[in-house]
Symmetry: C2
Subunit: 483 residues, 2 copies
């Protein structure tokens, strides 16, 4: 009598799901990247009453295919060009399966030694791939938001050790560029800094932070009796993949004794490719750094790698083990819970270990290089069509462009493009102008995907120029899977 699903049943449905995923991975293009359904479509088809009696896996899997799948935005899709495009590769998916079965929580070394040690090993390897010095202590978080939040907590503890007993003083200042990710400001809010002590530093015409503006702001704050606490620089901003001048910023931070956190959640991966490694220049001087392998390292969501030069600052901020019980820094038996807000930590390192070993640096570098090359070719192609203009430098695998026309036309272009099924695109605003973002980063994406989307883009541009209604609808593109 099995309390859980029986092993035979697990085997049967496990094989069925593996086969389904193999077919999916053989060509995700058989599914639309975006749901054609309105808000609430799925929720309204599910019973409002919670299930009392159990149901069969057949019923559940049928509903998965019939109701859940058609209402997904499939991120692991070669025509997902939105936000930052991501991939979940075969080895990463299989590692998640194993991790779910063992179901471990690596809060302490003892609570699962392999979770802790594999996290140390893989983050050490990743540090090598990125060319970072081994002074950085690595740990895994769920997202870059959480990593950046921990950077700010560490900076707060360093700048104001009294915060632990007295609460956050009202004079700590956080600096980031007006192009920084919203998670930076959000982390500042969560850490108890007020918005009046956050400085949005100006950027230049390449959307990169102006070091002279940063220095000016720091000096003005000091003159006003405030305490500059932390600067967040970005390598590869979300809007345009702009690269802040980290070496100059690092110099300022060192001279002024301010914590420097570098957000390379996406752009940091460029350093896996030897010829792009210079993009991380200056990061070796930072106090902390984040890069998200779930973004561009073919690792399933979620896995954010956080590196910190002074891990003790996190213990000062968060650790509740009484000082007299703290073991001297023991690299062999780290208790990660002393450094993090969440106590529980699932076995995320396993998927990174599978991915890094299965592909190796050479293959990962060639995949990233391929994405960058596709983006450069895409930029040239768009530029050669006089109806479009490029709106920002494109040093990585994101191209920002717009139709030469009004914001309303560009909004309409985006909406028609997404409705067409040609791909999922997003937008940003640069200097008051609506701009489309075309991000390339899925492992399956090839030039043919881009060409197909380009053809649709051109057709919509023609329609918009002539005031036509859209000719392409999702129904005309999406051929449901016949299985």
């Amino acid at each position: 009598m099995w309390r859980d699903m029986s092993p035979d049943e697990f085997r049967r449905y496990g094989h069925q799901i593996v086969d389904w995923i193999a077919d999916f991975l053989a060509d995700p293009r058989q599914f639309p990247v975006l749901s054609p359904h309105p808000p609430g479509w799925l929720a309204r088809q599910l019973p409002g009453e919670a299930p009392v009696e159990g149901e069969s896996m057949d019923q559940i899997l049928q509903d998965f295919e019939r109701l859940v799948l058609p209402h997904c935005t499939i991120w692991n899709h070669p025509r997902f060009f939105s936000y930052f495009a991501v991939s979940s590769s075969g080895p990463g998916i299989l590692a998640e399966l194993l991790a779910a079965a063992l179901n471990m929580n690596g809060m302490l070394w003892q609570s699962s030694p392999a979770v802790t040690e594999l996290e140390q090993v893989t983050l050490g390897w990743l540090r090598q791939w990125l060319g970072l010095p081994d002074v950085f202590f690595g740990m895994i978080h769920d997202t870059a938001s959480t990593s950046t939040f921990h950077a700010i907590l560490a900076a707060r503890a360093r700048a104001a050790p009294e915060a632990r007993s007295d609460g956050v003083p009202s004079n700590l200042v956080l600096y980031f560029s007006e192009q920084a990710h919203s998670s930076v400001e959000k982390a500042g809010l969560a850490a108890g800094l007020g918005r009046k002590n956050m400085r949005l530093v100006a950027t230049d015409d390449r959307f990169a932070m102006k070091p002279e503006s940063l220095l000016e702001a720091i000096r003005a704050d000091r003159a006003a009796g405030l305490r500059p606490m932390c600067v967040v620089a970005t390598v590869g901003t979300t809007s345009t993949t702009a690269v802040d001048p980290v070496p100059a910023i690092a110099e300022i931070c060192e001279r002024e004794q301010i914590w420097l956190h570098v957000d390379g959640a996406y752009g940091g991966h460029m350093a896996v490719v030897p010829e792009y490694r210079h993009l991380l220049d200056g990061v070796a001087q930072a106090d902390s750094f984040v890069v998200n392998p779930h973004k561009w390292l073919f690792t399933p969501i979620d896995l954010s790698a956080f590196y910190i030069r002074h891990p003790d600052a996190l213990r000062e901020a968060l650790c509740l083990v009484p000082a007299y019980l703290r073991s001297p820094s023991n690299a062999d038996a780290v208790n990660f819970m002393e450094y993090t807000l969440p106590l529980g930590r699932r076995f995320r390192a396993l998927k990174l270990w599978f991915v890094m070993r299965y592909f190796g640096q050479a293959k990962i570098a060639s995949l990233i290089r391929g994405h960058v090359e596709m983006a450069q070719r895409l930029a040239q192609t768009l530029q050669s069509d006089e109806r479009f203009e490029l709106c920002a430098p494109h040093p990585m695998s994101l191209v920002c462009f717009r139709l030469r026309g009004s914001n309303a036309q560009n909004e309409e272009l985006l909406e028609r493009l997404n409705r067409s099924g040609a791909g999922f695109f997003s937008k940003t605003v640069l200097g008051g102008r609506t701009v489309l973002r075309w991000s390339i980063g899925n492992i399956h994406t090839c030039w043919e995907d881009l060409e197909a989307a380009l053809a649709t883009l051109r057709q919509i541009a023609t329609e918009l120029a002539s005031g036509q209604d859209p000719q392409i609808t999702l129904d005309s593109v999406y051929e449901p899977k016949t299985s």
Copy 2:
């Protein structure tokens, strides 16, 4: 030419891993629950140099079996009696596999409608299973630490709306019992409250918060010009599963206008069983509540369910969408990112949906009831042996006991017990005395597991009484799998 692992290769290794897991689930007892190896054992056997060329899945899986598995503390093991025992059930594991393949991020409704809607549906169902009113808005976090942190951020925003612009004022006070989980104090630290404004409220002889002490502390703080901000009560504390008197605490919080957060991370599940539902009395009056299905709802780590009566308080604390862009509360298209610190959110709801449907409330209730019954029988059995004493009430599935003897003897007992392979146990300290915790919550655990561990426990007690060296070693218990 496949950039990723080919579909055929995925199919082959996927089947192999599914078969391995089916064998594992058929009897996890074939593996030791604890690693017999010292700190660093795994790390030292892996190359320090990051991989440059890719390796075969055969090599990776061999290393998984040869190096990773023997160094695991296997939480999904019927003899895992430590912390709170947990399970990762068949349907939950299979859902994680599907989620990893689709690799979605539900930060916005549009970024994946199914992620958002299934989160709403499953958290609505869970609310019904627990008998909570539908005024609670539900969302999924990774861990209870993160859920409680969000409760404190919401409370902070309510008590001090000016914190958003000016930073956290220094007079906000947080109350919790001296038996509350360390994550409460940690969340207070992270949110920028100093320890001098945290009140550890006294508990009674059942380790439950004394409402009169709470009221006294609140009055003293008000008299001193401080602002009582939040009370955290617990249903099922980590040390002993004590239950704070939530109805009385809720009445105080309502009268005093203080946010009440209830931590039912483990104990909240008791309410799935109709006859234990009264343990959540008073929670319907709380402002927020957390229960962790990854603890006692047979759902793989991580999934913490957070319920909040005033979700707008979280938007006041964290949301950075300008006010003029906020859509009126639209239950059909919620953007969860407006309510949470992490921007990314993986498709955790899928596993909860699989688990709730596959088992249904009736089966889940019978599993939880079975765990509680085993714990009661275990308590009686221990009590009938005069060498042992029970150290706390045991209303749920945790039994706290000790050898009648010194703390040193109990520490030695714990160490020998864990080394014996009979199970993994943990300890706590109650009134200065070292106490062993025996937690029951794994889906596979049956009375025979407890009997086997009891036999070992008795033998070690005999050895300790006679000053003998341990006769049981891990090697004598662990028969490596021959496959």
